[in-house]
């Protein structure tokens, strides 16, 4: 049974309870404070240590009624793609698909090569900066499995950073039958957790209702997003175009470019080998 998130922009009030709940449960450190001036968004982006991020989209329209301003908020998260760029790219096999259908980074396997970072079409996963092995070693003690949390808080954890981090879809909570922390904390049910098929049904009904009411509403990732990625296990209901929330309109699965790449390299190598053969051994005295 695959589980996932349905995050609905039309219900989000921008309280950031999801961001806080995620940080707390997963013991994620602060990324530092930067006053961006971009509406109420000082989180700015998902990172190796920020796994929920609330977008604050400000919209203004001027017509005969004067200036109307409106907000649309959306809690962004790792999409847990059906075909995940990060998972395909990972050379250590640290990134796996777990029994809940989520894309999970095993922190004790990852060696911090950073290839997943550039292979995510949504700019989600990132490296967690390494910190010293001394006093602050526990600073990046991220939660993983429930057992590890109980037994030794540091063993399977990303104790000293230097590895990749992103949403685990609360693997540890799911394993003991709990709802992910963000969905639990969301006061408006803008973040809903559940079985994917059921969530999709719910999302489609919700869009219909909204469209009837004359609200601009569209689903993102409930069905195939194209580019070889397939559908997203964490999908969204948007009240504006994807760009407004910093989501790609046409994401592409990076591995689809490999065949062409290898073919181009082979063609160049063959051309050079032929020229080289003529230059080095083309004088008829081949031994």
């Amino acid at each position: 049974m695959a589980t996932g998130f349905f995050t609905d922009a039309t219900l989000c009030i921008g309280c950031k309870a999801c961001e806080v709940a995620c940080k707390q449960w997963n013991e994620l450190p602060s990324d530092g404070f930067e006053f961006t001036g971009n509406s109420y968004d000082n989180t700015s982006q998902l990172s190796g240590t920020t796994w929920r991020h609330v977008d604050f989209v400000e919209r203004e329209s001027i017509d005969e009624n004067g200036i109307t301003a409106s907000w649309s908020m959306l809690s962004d998260v790792c999409k847990h793609c059906t075909n995940a760029g990060c998972l395909e790219a990972c050379p250590t096999g640290a990134i796996v698909r777990n029994e809940f259908g989520s894309v999970f980074v095993q922190p004790d396997i990852c060696n911090g090569c950073g290839y997943c970072v550039v292979s995510c079409p949504f700019g989600v996963i990132d490296l967690i900066e390494a910190v010293g092995n001394g006093d602050d070693a526990g600073k990046y003690a991220l939660a993983t499995l429930h057992e590890d949390r109980l037994n030794d808080r540091k063993t399977a954890l990303q104790a000293t950073g230097g590895v990749a981090g992103k949403c685990t879809l609360c693997y540890d909570r799911q394993r003991i039958g709990m709802v992910p922390a963000c969905a639990k904390a969301c006061p408006t049910e803008s973040i809903q957790f559940g079985e994917i098929e059921e969530l999709r049904e719910r999302a489609k009904r919700r869009v219909e209702t909204l469209l009837e009411r004359g609200v601009d509403a569209r689903l993102y990732g409930a069905d195939d997003v194209g580019g070889g990625i397939g559908s997203l296990n964490a999908f969204f209901l948007l009240a504006d175009s994807p760009e407004a929330y910093n989501l790609p309109v046409e994401p592409v699965l990076p591995s689809t470019r490999q065949a062409m790449g290898y073919a181009a390299a082979a063609a160049a190598a063959l051309a050079l080998a032929t020229l080289g053969w003529a230059i080095f051994r083309g004088d008829g005295t081949d031994a």
């Binding site: 968004d41 060696n111 950073g114 550039v118 790449g261 160049a268 190598a269 050079l272 080289g276 230059i279």
Partner: protein
């Protein structure tokens, strides 16, 4: 154009000069595999010398490059985790295996030369079959090319748009740099007779390289701006396009057309080879740096290259 406060959509590479060096040396290893094959089993003494020089150098680079690769990892002590699996969908995974196998073939070829030179017992010559020569050349082609595939198969728009060009000109750049390095080594050894051939190979590789780079610029459109414009573009133009391809090509052409006095000719050839090597390094560096800039522009990331 709509965007989210112009914030980057993608995350750029965390790679620095160690990765650039790895890519650069990987390209040279690839080119040396080709030269080692081209000079294999020839009666001329200058070819024999070249053969030995390329094989020893390739082996030395195969020993130097893995530590450089390892140094870029967030957790270097876990490097071996890359050897837990073979993943055909990950160029990074295949690349590590390519490096391991290349090192094996390079080691076998170096061992045969050592036996031939009498440094190790001659008997050992029979331990390493001569099939390792074409094998090293094949793996070398892979070594020089996979890094281009590796960056093209990412979400970074500039790299993604270069899926046809970047792997191909990476191979060319590797071959040109390897010829340049072999030229320098042959000059040091006083093996002057082999240099004209190396320089012709370098010219062939450079000509193909510049054609591919120009085509990439022409077809890539706005996505390629970070590579060809601004600070990175200027450096690429000065050190790679002009300094690393056009000038050495001209110097090599002069060397091929006129019979210069020996000492002047040696200076000419050293200058051409050195410039080519610098150009090869700057090419890789520019690709990585421009990739970071490309990742910062959300507008090119909303509709990603196919």
């Amino acid at each position: 154009m709509k965007s989210y406060y112009d914030r980057p959509l993608l995350k750029g590479p965390h790679w620095g000069s160690n990765v650039v060096t790895y890519l650069f040396l990987g390209g040279i290893m690839g080119g040396l595999g080709l030269i080692s094959l081209l000079s294999d089993d020839r009666p001329e003494p200058e070819m024999k010398k070249l053969r030995k020089a390329t094989r020893y150098t390739a082996f030395a680079l195969a020993a130097i490059n893995p530590p450089i690769l390892i140094s870029h990892l967030g957790r270097p002590e876990r490097f071996l985790n890359m050897l837990r699996i073979v993943k055909f969908k990950s160029p990074m995974s295949l690349g590590v295996w390519g490096l391991v196998l290349y090192s094996g073939a390079a080691g076998a070829n170096a061992l045969r030369e050592l036996a031939d030179d009498g440094v190790v017992p001659r008997m050992l010559k029979f331990v390493a079959p001569s099939a390792t020569v074409p094998i090293q050349a094949l793996l070398g082609a892979f070594m020089a090319g996979y890094t281009g595939v590796l960056i093209s198969a990412t979400a970074i728009p500039l790299w993604a748009a270069g899926k046809r060009h970047i792997p191909a000109f990476s191979v060319c750049s590797g071959a040109a740099s390897a010829s340049a390095l072999a030229t320098l080594l042959s000059t040091l050894q006083g093996n002057h007779d082999v240099i004209p051939r190396l320089e012709r190979l370098e010219m062939a590789a450079a000509a193909l390289e510049i054609a591919l780079v120009a085509d990439f610029r022409k077809r890539g459109g706005a996505v390629t701006a970070p590579l060809f414009e601004g600070r990175v573009g200027k450096r690429l133009r000065d050190f790679t396009i002009i300094g690393g391809i056009v000038v050495p090509f001209a110097l090599n052409a002069i060397g091929g057309a006129f019979k210069l006095p020996k000492s002047i000719d040696a200076l000419r050839s050293i200058a051409a080879a050195t410039l080519t090597l610098v150009g090869g390094y700057v090419l890789r560096e520019s690709l990585i740096e421009a990739g970071k800039l490309s990742a910062n522009d959300p507008h090119v990331a909303f509709r990603q290259p196919s």
